[in-house]
């Protein structure tokens, strides 16, 4: 058999169809974004600051938290900006009374039932939307359980979990494909757990830490961070972040080393890196201690 003739220029990389620009109205302004962009993409391109929690730049939208909702003219309900695609001719308002009220309620419900003390920017949003999480009183339903410290690498503190499912997606078919963690229970009893809700050490977990990478609230954290917070020594203002290349194996994963007082306290990876897309393995994420065995 002879193979089909190759096109003349075989070095060309298939780029797919060119993406058209579509135009729509965003808060009274005409904006143009590439076809397929979400409303959130358009907002960010315009410099609009929409709060997000369950949205992840390396994950498909989950629409779980509803904190990014905006008003689309003609639609009965508010639309999550993180997943709703921009359409030509649509009119979107991000800062209407209805959208602001909805965000306020979401923040109040989450902040009253979950410990958001390590969630970046949440204090700012509470002020911005005039949210009053205390109005449900001290008896607002909380999980009220101790952080789970069952290994030396990372800690699960489900009092801080907002059930955004990002860790489940990162552990599952979107990246790691280990499927160690999942949602168990239904309705009010829903929670994130490993099989049989046992300790991590008896689960399928491979300690890649890709769930920590996407966790928006600090419910999943490095044990080093957890211990330093407990000791009152965790100080992000004193930390530097330096991106380098992992020294284990030849894949060339980019590591961002978070360093405080000349000690690596946390390792992440740039989400836009073509090698990792923010993911690492156990060695890259946790295997740094040998360089700081200095005594």
């Amino acid at each position: 058999m002879t193979a089909p003739a190759m096109p003349r220029n075989t070095s060309a990389v298939p780029l797919g169809l060119p993406r058209r620009l579509i135009e729509f109205t965003l808060d009274g302004q005409q904006v143009r974004v590439p076809e397929g962009s979400t409303i959130l993409d358009a907002c960010r391109a315009e410099g609009k600051d929409i709060p997000t929690l369950c949205e992840g730049d390396t994950l498909r939208p989950k629409n779980a938290c509803r904190v990014c909702v905006v008003e689309v003219e003609g639609a009965r309900t508010l639309a999550p900006a993180c997943s709703r695609k921009a359409e030509a001719g649509m009119t979107v308002k991000t800062d209407t009374e209805r959208a602001r009220h909805s965000r306020k309620i979401v923040i109040e419900l989450l902040a009253s039932s979950v410990d958001l003390s390590t969630t970046p920017r949440v204090e700012e949003w509470i002020k911005q939307y005039d949210a009053k999480p205390d109005r449900f009183g001290p008896d607002a339903a909380r999980l009220n359980e101790e952080p789970r410290v069952d290994n030396d690498l990372y800690v699960r503190d489900y009092d801080k979990c907002i059930l955004c499912y990002k860790c489940v997606d990162a552990c599952g078919d979107q990246w790691q494909n280990t499927f160690a963690i999942s949602v168990v229970g239904r309705g009010f009893d829903a929670r994130i757990a490993v099989e049989h809700d046992g300790p991590l050490t008896e689960s399928a977990c491979v300690y890649c830490g890709n769930c920590i990478e996407v966790c928006p609230t600090g419910a999943l954290s490095f044990k080093s961070e957890f211990d330093m917070r407990a000791a009152g020594t965790w100080d992000e203002s004193q930390q530097t972040e330096t991106t380098t290349v992992c020294a284990y194996c030849g894949v060339g994963c980019n590591l961002t080393l978070h360093v405080q007082d000349n000690e690596i306290v946390k390792v992440t990876s740039p989400h836009d890196n073509p090698v990792t897309h923010g993911n690492l393995c156990i060695k890259g994420r946790f295997g740094y201690q040998h360089v700081q065995n200095r005594d």
């Binding site: 494909n177 030849g250 060339g252 994963c253 156990i282 060695k283 740094y288």
Partner: protein, 650 residues
Amino acid sequence: MKKRDRTPKTYSRLTHPLVRDEKNGPLRRATWDEALAKAAEGFRRNRIEHGPDSFAMLSCARATNEMNYVAQKFTRVVMGTNNVDSCNRTCHAPSVAGLSAVFGSGGGTSSYEEVEHTDFILMWGSNARFAHPIFFQHVLKGIRNGARMYAVDPRRTSTAEWAESWLGLNVGTDIPLAHAVGREIIAAGLHNQSFIDRATTGFEDYKKLVEPWTLSLAEKVTGVPAAAIKDLAHAYASAERAQLCWTLGITEHHNGTDNVRALINLSLLTGHVGRWGAGVQPLRGQNNVQGGGDMGAIPNRLPGFQDILDDGHRAKFESAWDVVIQPRYGMTLTDMFEAMEHGELKAVYCIGENPAQSEADSDQALRRLQALDHLVVQDIFLTKTAELADVVLPATAAWAETDGTTTNSERRVQRVRAALTPPGEAREDIDIICDIAGLLGHDWKWADSQAVWDELRSLSPDHFGMTYDRLEEHHGLQWPCPDTDKLPSSFLHGRLWETDPERRGTPAAFGLVEHDPPVDLTDENFPIRLTTGRRLDSYNTGVQTGSFASPLRRGEYIELCPEDAESLGVQVGEEVRVASRRGTVTAPVWVDPALRPGLAFMTFHFPDEVDTNQLTIEANCPIAGTAEFKASAIRIEKLHTNEPVAAVRS
């Protein structure tokens, strides 16, 4: 099962230089001045007494490109020899040798992203799920995007668990399997005749070579059912685009380069190379084992992978460096160890390598290192190799304490940046080498790593377009990158598809390689085939990974299949004696259903607990010098009976 009581050895950073006053005396603390003077003196003395070729450099495959450039320059300019090599020799030297023999270039031909968009992925002798987990995420993306993945491996690894078909061949029968696949592709008329005619040589000889390897003969030799071989042949050949990836299961054999050639043959046969999404890809084991070779820290190439035997290349470097370069290849790491045995090699400068524990047949490696007149070890730890040294120089950890670049398996050069202040008196590798060069009469000054890189760029056309600024801007760049304004192609050898013979260049040659079974044969005394590999959470000799508390780590075991464990009468956790023709170790038993009867598995991550390399054989690939870590013959003895148990079938 109860956790084993283990006290793993952890290494503390070296914080000051050490010297040894007399052979067999103790190492003692020294000042930098004293240590550098002693290091330089030994190199000078041996060069005067025994000539430049009595010196060898072991350069570090985990350090930066810049450090490797300076280390090979030290070897060639200061010492005047081409004896520079690294642990690339113990892993992927056969890949480099095989690829450069066929394509003229020693790198994998594709990019990770292409794996996500290809139609067929063949993982051959590679447990990437464990050894290269983030590469495997690209494979998983490919599978999710509809690619079919097949795995060839003696073990049913966690990589094979994701495969549509697992071909569990007998260890060391890769060539028969590849030849049978090739024969079937030709017999079914699925070969790409127009590509073969246009871009390759030696097809008719190849066709004759593989003719005897019928499916049924291959089944007898490899243990893989004929139908599975046929299925693989048809799936690979009829895919629109296919990727063929391999790791040490292919290279760590006494005929590793032949294995690589046998795999590359399949890509030539089908035209699965030189196109976007179609290529051959060795997955490298160290962060900069690709870059070390690219920088000329190998005995046969100058920086930029330029052949030492080429007069033009040599002339360019001779004028740039103002030195005469020997017009012949230096010693490989393997040659070096043999030369130590014969007393031809007297002085070794070992940077960041631990050959006392990473070489096959480690007792022999230890003896040979001890026979040296002068051993200088530059490392971040007092490794087993450093313990033998006359001078120990504390260095920085490249990936976290220095600036520079490394090159990954897809030829992507990326920036490495210093995040930590090095401990104590530890100093950067490049500064240390320059100081020793200074003491030997060469006044070298580079302002920083970028200055070294720019010198390399001026000498290596493949790297010329990669300025530090561009590397930062583009998340690294892949070689060849000759232009400072154009982005490089993500794949190599598109030229093979050109219709104009001029632009097509040298055709790719089919490798006419014959099956040659493992050197260490199994017999009634050593009935079990031992193969080696990596685990997910550990790395090589464990010097680095020993320090973090991995919940997955359980130490070293001899892993057996359930059938063998039962016929040997051994339990999980029971200590047994494992003997090969070279040495004996004691290890507890683990039972792994991914193994097959007659096949055992160990790692070399815990050499201070169980020195697996006492068992392995130093049977080396004659072309690339890589030892046959993947195939030893062993027997297993119950400890308390002290007698060999009934032999299992081999």
